[in-house]
């Protein structure tokens, strides 16, 4: 018990271990797992990142049936920041999908904006609508994928008919 008394007196005269958080800064440490950033010019629309995401935070919606171009939608409030999509992307070295070292702010009064965060989060202004609008995107994802598959099947049948006749 005497040893603990001496230890407590030493702690009384030394500096505290904690930092006063809202009044002092708390920067992110090196190697932090932060938000995912996307570059549309380098993407080849292979769908590998969508297939591996465990909570389903990346969803593509087909926008143009002729060229096969898709729109990238990302929900930073469903993401678990594991980095599996970055590992699977074949163009990750050139910078198509990158994990940055910044935090996502908590869902309070504003929704975060940025060009590299995809189409979904840049179209919403009210934080209360995030959940209901994301359900619509999930339904659109399934619907447009079925229509795209039907369209490609019709193209293949038409080509076969034109080749034989």
């Amino acid at each position: 018990m005497l040893k603990m008394f001496i230890e407590s007196f030493k702690n009384l005269c030394s500096s505290p271990e904690t930092i006063k958080y809202p009044f002092a800064e708390s920067p992110e440490p090196k190697g932090y797992r932060g938000v995912i950033e996307y570059n549309e010019d380098l993407c080849i629309f292979c769908d590998k990142c969508e297939n591996i995401c465990p909570p389903g935070a990346i969803k593509f919606v087909v926008s143009d049936f002729e060229t096969g171009k898709k729109e990238y939608n990302y929900n930073p409030y469903l993401c678990i920041y594991c980095g599996a999509c970055v590992t699977e992307c074949p163009k990750a070295d050139e910078g198509c999908l990158v994990q940055a070292q910044t935090r996502t702010p908590p869902l309070g009064r504003v929704v975060p904006k940025g060009e590299k965060l995809g189409y979904f989060i840049n179209r919403i202004d009210n934080p209360k609508e995030v959940e209901s609008k994301w359900r619509e995107i999930e339904k659109l994802n399934i619907k447009t994928k079925e229509e795209y598959k039907e369209y490609k099947k019709q193209q293949r049948l038409a080509k076969k008919k034109a080749a034989t006749s």
Partner: protein
């Protein structure tokens, strides 16, 4: 004399886990116990065979528990690598062992701090949590997060380490070792702490064998069982692993076994950092899992068991998890009968229960 039923309920000021015991007491001695354990059942076994594909499973099972998350992910990865016939190289084994031993250190320090808090010695609880911050700094630098690491993937590890991280870890481990020796001395030599913990909740070696206990609880009674020595999943003998045993079997002996294991783990980590072999940190993965396999790994609380069955599809057939707290609940019910009611909180917390693992 009348009987009173006292709830050591699911909401209690000394209980950090959602478990509920109903004690029937008579003059402050407990005579009968009824236990309720299913408060946080989330249906993870059903989700693993309907909704998630096999390469998303390590991310799902890591979230069964917060403190032993890397052992659950490691067991699934080891089982799937056996079913897919993949061999990993030595560098991946050593990196996985490094993070597993660091996780064991921080979990044991948290358990010992909580036993000190519940007994009434809050100063020792604060000091133990202060020295635990060194381990959390090293883990945050390597994996990016303090509690959920997502570090083990099928075919390797998520990130590699370079020489700057090795220097940083060596400095932190050296300060940690001096601090742990100081705190172990406080636990050992303090008179009032000894009155509350020595001779309380004694388990003899015959009782531990009869009820099939696992983990530091069995090792504190002299019963030599450890999954690191009974199943080969990582090369622990090459870096200096030794089994630690004590013989008294009370609350004080369980604390001391955990401190002995912490010192052994620090020595193992320093050996790993000195002898890291060269190589790649990821190996190629192909195919689909087929067959059945049995895996046993050593979590900080004891032996964790997994059974996997697949049949060449993307979704597995059966995933069965049995955690060490599940194996220790029957003996906890036997220990309470005949003890005083005011010792109940020290006995429960010295078992280090993890209820979110038990009711998955």
């Amino acid at each position: 004399m009348g009987k009173i039923i006292v709830p050591f309920g699911s909401q209690h000021i000394a209980l950090p886990e959602p478990v509920s015991f109903l004690f029937e007491t008579e003059n402050e001695i407990i005579t009968n116990v009824e236990a309720h354990v299913g408060y946080v059942h989330r249906g993870i076994e059903k989700a693993a065979i309907t909704k998630f594909e096999f390469n998303q499973l390590p991310y799902l099972t890591a979230r069964v528990c917060g403190l032993c998350s890397i052992t659950h992910a490691g067991a699934v990865v080891h089982g799937l690598e056996k079913l897919l016939n993949i061999e990993v190289n030595k560098r991946i084994d050593y990196l996985r062992m490094f993070v597993v031993e660091l996780d064991r250190i921080h979990s044991h320090l948290l358990a010992n701090g909580h036993v000190a808090e519940v007994v009434g010695y809050e100063n020792l609880f604060m000091q133990t949590f202060k020295i635990r911050e060194d381990v959390m700094d090293v883990l945050e630098r390597i994996t990016g997060n303090r509690v959920q690491y997502d570090y083990q993937v099928i075919g390797g590890v998520a990130r590699d380490i370079d020489s700057e991280i090795v220097e940083f870890s060596k400095k932190k481990l050296k300060t940690l070792k001096d601090n742990v020796l100081k705190i172990m001395d406080f636990n050992d030599s303090d008179y009032t702490f000894g009155l509350k913990t020595k001779g309380v909740g004694v388990i003899s070696k015959e009782m531990a064998t009869k009820f099939n206990t696992a983990g530091p609880i069995a090792r504190a009674s002299g019963f030599a069982t450890d999954a690191r020595a009974e199943y080969d999943y990582l090369p622990f003998e090459e870096v200096g692993y030794k089994m630690q045993l004590r013989t008294s079997g009370d609350v004080w002996a369980r604390n001391m076994v955990r401190f002995d294991e912490v010192l052994n783990s620090i020595e193992m980590c320093e050996n790993i950092l000195d002898n890291l072999p060269a190589g790649e940190s990821k190996v190629k993965v192909k195919g689909r899992p087929e067959g059945e396999v049995v895996v046993r790994v050593e979590a900080p609380r004891g032996e964790c068991f997994y059974y996997l069955k697949g049949s060449k599809q993307k979704v597995l057939d059966r995933v069965r998890i049995r955690v060490p707290t599940y194996a220790n609940i029957p003996i906890l019910k036997e220990l309470f009968v005949g003890a005083k009611y005011s010792d109940a909180q020290a006995i429960v917390l010295s078992f280090d229960p993890c209820m979110s693992c038990t009711a998955k």
